[in-house]
Subunit: 427 residues, 2 copies
């Protein structure tokens, strides 16, 4: 892979997400060589992907070139690569661009959409974990409305104008809210020859409340906001299948839709070879100790969504969210430096800074340790926090400008079919 | 095509470029029904495409939803469609989404890249006339640098890091200048393990000066700017072939490059059926009279790049530039209203507002009727004019922010491989 051999120990990091980047920053000026691998040449700010899908933000403003993150770090190497296999007995990884020896390996590959084995759902529904996926969803929504204009079949037209979002976690709730605002503010103007009152936004949740990882107060408030926006919330309903038009559930309820978004679960992104017996919880994460070290190895670590670190408080592992990934990445960075210097490592302790979700214009919910609130102020907090965690000054400025514009004008201008989804040849 | 029949005459406009949009705006509040067709659901600001290719601007900030342009116009219909054939004897057009009768037809399909029949050049080189094409070029450039890191073959590595731009019109000159600035400001930081001094930017021009449509003074100045930036300018050199690695010319000169951009010519975008004998000049445009009416028809018009309108001053037709398209679109809009009301139409007269090109940071040339100048002031004029003609307040703001950022930081942040070009399956 053309990486020079030096006297410094080589740390290979797989994945440039929140965990990988936080870790890399901690290793910036240490006496180590760092090789960072990612399938994309950019870091993705996943919490705002739903705004890309709904035309509120440009994809380029929530992505950031990984080379730019590491450009001032000496002894850093980035390679655009996908890992095929880890040969742990020889400290060797095999990728699509060749093989590489490591002294220490950090797996920070994050998570991917979990369809729980349902192939038909996987084939017909949309996921929203990457920028290309989000752009595909944006295209599909717009293409469906263009197609709705062409059909005289009323059922088909309504299916093209309707949405089913499966899973009422933050992603599902935020997407449903954004679509509801588009229904109200943009569709009647863009499609005066369609009866956009027929647009149905259905949010389907297997559990008995939305935002199940937040407080009950937040769940209630969020559901109230969703109803106010015209989203149909279906609780205690589990989607069983989807053929591209009809969504079946475990109850009598069926939905007719051409767009089903699957936000009902994630699982760790596989790395073949890391462990034959696969030490996992049900979302198949890699079991690590409190120093992020993978069970059974001395020089392999895992951080972020991919890692399953259990303790007294988190009996089923830490939540698969950005905050955990960032904190684990930072902690491991400090521990690796300690380890190489022969100092004692410090066990990871998660500092829960709270969680939040936005439902729409002036509508958000925030859970902090002692404070739980919703509404306009929560919405401002949500925006401020997201701007703060976004990487790059230019990205922050562009996102801010877009938000101000969208707020003042009740608009979302990035409704462009730049990479058609249906007519893939037209890309 | 599901367009209601009304008592108003129906005007069908094919193409939402500069000409089509200017025309549509003039018809906004008239007693006509307008159907606007385009292959894309957005208008493209083509003069800034080279900045998308070189990571300076997001694609979304130079594209604008066509539905948003026409949303306040009554009796306007937009359809995402590509026209297959015009059946003039029945006033009928056939598209991929069905057929449509017209009372008046306006062809505003613009132009596309002209490879002058060389299939191998067409297959191996990059064009830059649409947003998807510009994004493909952006991806290819970045992918080539990632690949350059992996090879030990010095010739191959240099080919991956080199560029040949064919054609020194505004597009070629602006792209060459932007690449030269990337070579200087970004590549050494992003690729410290490559010898980026080896990056070659070759601008090849068949004629004896760059910017041949501008004044000799502008040509000289532009060439001086290009040389200052380190671009190799090859005049009186015509590219004869390109196999993906080797560029051959009509002289002894050969270039080794993995990226050849073809900006050497355009031709009118075909519309099968409009005229069997094809009344054309050598770039195959549709011959029109001074009212933009297509020869031989009473109700078919053509405006912009696709139209060939000759007169005393423009013996070979008007230049294929945005200004002509905008003015012809406006003039035809006014004339159509006159025609329908039975009033006398006014022949088109082009008001040349001058031309300009930017070469790089603080480097531009401007030709106006009495004033010809270059340098910092020209560069500011260039930016101001482009911001002014860009559609949409948000686009202007976002482009402005990006320009300020890029200027202050010597940076271009949108260097993202979001739709891989080589590995198309990874899209």
């Amino acid at each position: 892979m053309n990486i020079p051999q030096t006297s410094f120990p080589r740390i290979v990091i797989i994945g440039g997400g929140f965990a990988g980047i936080s870790l890399a920053k901690k290793l910036a000026k240490q006496e180590v060589q760092v090789v960072l691998l990612d399938k994309h040449n950019y870091h993705t700010f996943q919490p705002l992907l739903y705004q890309v899908s709904t035309g509120g933000l440009e994809p380029d403003s929530i992505a950031y070139p990984i080379r730019k993150v590491i450009k001032d770090f000496p002894n850093f190497y980035f390679r655009l690569a996908s890992v095929n296999h880890i040969q742990t007995e020889d400290n060797l990884i095999h990728t699509n661009i060749g093989s590489l020896k490591y002294d220490h390996l950090v797996i920070a590959t994050g998570s991917k959409t979990n369809f729980f084995g349902n192939k038909q759902v996987e084939a017909n529904s949309m996921a929203m974990k990457t920028v290309p996926q989000s752009l595909n969803l944006r295209s599909l929504i717009l293409e469906n409305f263009e197609e709705a204009l062409l059909t005289d079949d009323l059922n088909e037209r309504n299916a093209l104008m309707s949405f089913v979002i499966v899973g009422a976690g933050p992603t599902g709730v935020e997407l449903a809210g954004a679509l509801a605002e588009i229904k109200k503010g943009i569709l009647p103007k863009d499609y005066p020859d369609l009866d956009t009152r027929q647009v149905q936004i259905n949010l389907v949740q297997s559990g008995d409340r939305v935002l199940p990882t937040m407080s009950e107060k937040a769940s209630l408030k969020a559901e109230m906001f969703l109803e106010k926006l015209g989203v149909n919330v279906w609780k205690n309903t589990r989607v069983t299948d989807y053929d591209g038009r009809t969504v079946t559930t475990n109850t009598d309820i069926e939905f007719k839709t051409a767009t089903m978004v699957w936000a009902a679960g994630v699982k760790a992104a596989d790395i073949p070879g890391i462990d034959a017996t696969c030490l996992v919880d049900r979302s198949c994460r890699i079991k690590v100790d409190s120093f992020s070290k993978v069970q059974g190895y001395d020089n392999i670590f895992a951080v972020g969504d991919v890692a399953f670190m259990e303790n007294e408080i988190f009996k089923y592992g830490h939540p698969m969210v950005a905050q955990v990934a960032i904190q684990q990445g930072k902690a491991l960075g400090e521990n690796l430096v300690k380890m190489i210097k022969g100092a004692k490592m410090i066990p990871f302790e998660y500092k829960d800074k709270g969680s939040m979700a936005t439902i729409g214009r002036n509508k958000a919910v925030v859970d902090m340790k002692k404070l739980r609130f919703g509404g306009v102020f929560a919405w401002f907090i949500w925006m401020f926090v997201h701007l703060f965690f976004l990487i790059g000054f230019r990205n922050r400025m562009v996102v801010f400008i877009n938000w101000v514009y969208n707020y003042v004008r009740f608009d979302r201008e990035a409704r462009l079919i730049i990479r058609p989804y249906k007519q893939k040849s037209a890309r």
